[in-house]
Symmetry: C2
Subunit: 223 residues, 2 copies
C-alpha cells in the first residue's frame, strides 16, 4: 500500500472512531463529556464510497454523523503528540452512520457497540485529501445536508480533544497502521435517515480573511 495511500479504503485494516468530541453533540444526546478520549472500532467492510447507497437494515433507526477522518500514513505505537503530524498522510470526509435504536439498547445493557456502528455501508467515505492541501485541520467547516437542507454545520475548531491528543491516546492502547482511518467525532445536528433520502456532505478546506495591505503598491486612477 505504501505506493498509494489513497487506496486506504481497499487496503486499510481498521477504523478507529472517537465518541463525544464536540460539546454541542454531547448535549443533544444527553451524554456526559468524557474526561479522556474514548473510541470504538468500525470494520472496513462498512466503507461505502461516494455515490453509493446506504442500506438500512430492517427496524434500524440510522443516524448520520459527519466527521473529519485522519488517514494514517505511517504506523506507530505510543505516538507522542509532538510526532503525530509525521504519522498522518491526509484526510477524508466520512459519515459515521449509527444504528441509534440498537446503540441505545446495547448501551443500557453495557454491551459492545460493534454491531450498532458496523453494518455494511455504514461508513460513507470521501476521497483521500493529501495533508499538503489542508492548512489547519482544526479550522475546517464540516457540513451535511439531507435532501438539500442543512442538518449538521460545524467546525473542527470545536473539537474537545484535538488531533495530537486523539492519536496519542489511541496509539497508547492499540498500534496504528498505514491505511487505518481515525474518525474524530461529529458536531451537533445528528438525526435519522430514511429510504429515499439524498445526503451531501462537505468540508470547507479553504478559508481566508481579508485585510488592507499596509504600504506597497498604490493604484492610481489614470486619464
Amino acid at each position: 500500500m505504501s505506493q498509494n495511500i489513497s487506496s486506504f479504503v481497499r487496503h486499510g485494516k481498521k477504523i478507529v472512531a472517537i465518541g463525544r468530541n464536540y460539546a454541542e453533540h454531547i448535549k443533544e444526546l444527553s451524554n456526559t463529556a468524557p474526561k479522556e478520549p474514548f473510541f470504538f472500532l468500525k470494520p472496513t467492510t462498512s466503507y461505502l464510497p461516494s455515490g453509493g447507497r446506504v442500506e438500512l437494515p430492517r427496524g434500524i433507526i440510522c443516524h448520520h454523523e459527519v466527521e473529519l477522518g485522519l488517514v494514517i500514513g505511517k504506523g506507530g505505537r505510543d505516538i507522542s503528540q509532538a510526532h503525530v503530524a509525521e504519522h498522518i498522510a491526509g484526510y477524508a470526509l466520512a459519515v459515521d452512520l449509527t444504528a441509534r435504536n440498537l446503540q441505545d439498547q446495547v448501551k443500557s445493557k453495557g454491551l459492545p457497540w460493534s454491531a450498532a456502528k458496523g453494518f455494511d455501508t455504514f461508513t460513507p467515505i470521501g476521497p483521500f485529501i493529501p495533508k499538503s492541501l489542508i492548512d489547519d485541520p482544526h479550522d475546517l467547516k464540516l457540513w451535511l445536508k439531507v435532501n438539500g437542507a442543512f442538518k449538521q454545520n460545524g467546525t473542527t475548531s470545536d473539537m474537545i480533544f484535538r488531533i495530537p491528543r486523539l492519536i496519542e491516546h489511541i496509539s497508547s492502547i492499540m498500534a496504528l497502521e498505514e491505511g487505518d482511518l481515525v474518525l474524530t467525532g461529529t458536531p451537533s445536528g445528528v438525526g435519522p435517515l430514511v429510504a429515499g433520502d439524498q445526503v451531501e456532505c462537505g468540508l470547507s478546506a479553504l478559508s481566508f480573511g481579508v485585510v488592507d495591505r499596509e504600504g506597497g503598491y498604490q493604484f492610481q486612477a489614470l486619464g
Copy 2:
C-alpha cells in the same frame, strides 16, 4: 492472500469476537444469557503469535479467555447456515485477553468495549489448522494452563450458539472477508494474569471412542 490463508494473522482485516457463548462462563461473571449472539471487534494489531509476550498495560487487570477461532476462507454477506462450511478455511486456537477492570467500568457507563479488548498483544494466536484436520469443531476440548495449573478446561460442545448460527448472525450485519477471524466465546475459568506468568493452551483436535468389532477377523492363539 488467497495463495496462503495460513498467513491470516498478517493479512486479515478484522477479528469478530462473540461474547457469552458458554453457560458456565456467563454464570461466573454474573451475566445474563443473550437471546441472540452478540459480538465485538478486536483490531488485528492485537495479535501475538505463539511464543511472544503479553504486555500488561499499567493498572490493567488482564483476564485470559481461551477460545476456538474460525478462519474465514471465502468472504460473504448474509451467509445462510447451510452454506457456512464453504466459508471456513480452518481454525486457530486463540486467547481473547480482556482488560477486565476497564471493561467493567465501560460496561457500567454503556461505553464501547474496544479499548478493553483491543490492547496490543491482547490476542495470542496459534497456528492455522486446516479444516480437513478437524472432524467436528463442536467436539473439541479447549484448555488453558497458567504456570502449569489448569484454569480453563472446556469443550466446544457447550457452545450456546453453534458455528453456523454465529456466522449467519455476524454476516447479516457485516460482511466477512478472507482472512478474518471469528472468536467463538470462552468456557468458564477465566481469571487474571500477572507479570511472570507462563501460559499454555491446547486444543484436543483428536478424539475417538472404542468398540468391539462385530464379526470379521478373529485372532487365534497359536502354538
